[in-house]
Symmetry: C2
Subunit: 199 residues, 2 copies
């Protein structure tokens, strides 16, 4: 049978996606499923829905911080809220599409989430800030920037975002197994069930 | 050691609370913990926070329905969306405080959730609609109404709601183990962890 695919819609600016980046791969591995990484512009989706995280009720935002620390503790992750949040994420997202062309997508995504969500490096929003990651992967940073600024890559990120919205994406992380959509770091067991159903 | 207490803030009008009413008791039992049931007016809290569920993005509301059906399936619950939703819940909430005085709080709550969330009986919003539940518990329905309309019970529901908000409640279901607050039907494993930590 063909390998199952999990479409993973991610944005480096999404706190909850950080957790999913760590929690999904073991589940995928257990079912020998492939993760198809889809960078998309979550800020664009939020604006389309008139959603502003900072406008949530104060009690909810306060609980959110407590909840995130609990998840970090439960799964022994080095999570810390970055000193700048939110950030513009188009450049690092386009960068992941460049890295896809160079067959370096997964290590780039891992390094990106570690930099922003563990090492407090909000400078990954810029090419200068991405340089250490890019060079550690053996890619020339000027070439990386040229490719990431190309019309082709720009169009590709817009298309990923639009396709996601057409499929029903309204937040991150979002996952699809076939036509079944899952939303949230807290739906891993449902993804697990869905993969098991079809294995 | 004294039994641990789980404060459970619930409103019969909350879809996600229906699931928690089924998922929490086995966890409480495993730790020999007591559930302290706190009815509160979720609509009042939502209005205080300018929150209107129906104004959520269409994609999010559509996914919500899918997610609820998945939970029902996973836990083999007879959940179905009521034909009238939302409803005014002050009367059935005050009714639970009356039943608390009569030592019938838990069977009343169970019957209430079954009526609205399984048997599509939105008439539980009224005394006439509550009558079958009240009488099945051996309580005179006229007496039930008189008690539930009393100033004492009215003040008690307002106080539960205000105390909940002071403690940080912004949605339902919400739980406290000591000062630790948990929100959502999808945080049962964290409550389990918290009880285990203190057992």
């Amino acid at each position: 049978m063909a390998k199952q695919i999990i479409d993973f819609y991610w944005d480096i600016g999404s706190t909850n996606t950080y957790f999913a980046v760590h929690l999904l791969p073991p589940i995928a591995a257990r079912h020998d499923a492939t993760i198809a990484w889809h960078p998309f512009n979550l800020g664009y989706v939020f604006r389309a829905n008139d959603y502003v995280l900072a406008e949530e009720p104060r009690a909810k935002l306060s609980h959110r911080g407590r909840d995130l620390r609990r998840w970090a503790e439960k799964y022994a992750l080095k999570f810390s809220m970055p000193s700048q949040f939110p950030i513009k994420t188009s450049i690092p997202l386009r960068g992941s599409l460049t890295m896809r062309k160079l067959d370096l997508e997964v290590p780039y995504i891992q390094a990106l989430f570690e930099a922003y969500w563990e090492a407090d490096k909000p400078e990954i929003a810029t090419y200068a800030g991405l340089k250490p990651i890019v060079e550690s992967l053996g890619v020339d940073s000027a070439e990386f920037e040229t490719m990431s600024e190309s019309e082709e890559i720009r169009a590709q990120l817009a298309e990923e975002t639009n396709t996601g919205m057409e499929r029903g994406v309204f937040g991150a992380p979002t996952f699809f197994v076939g036509d079944e959509m899952f939303w949230g770091k807290d739906r891993m067991d449902f993804i697990d069930d869905e993969l098991a159903r079809k294995t």
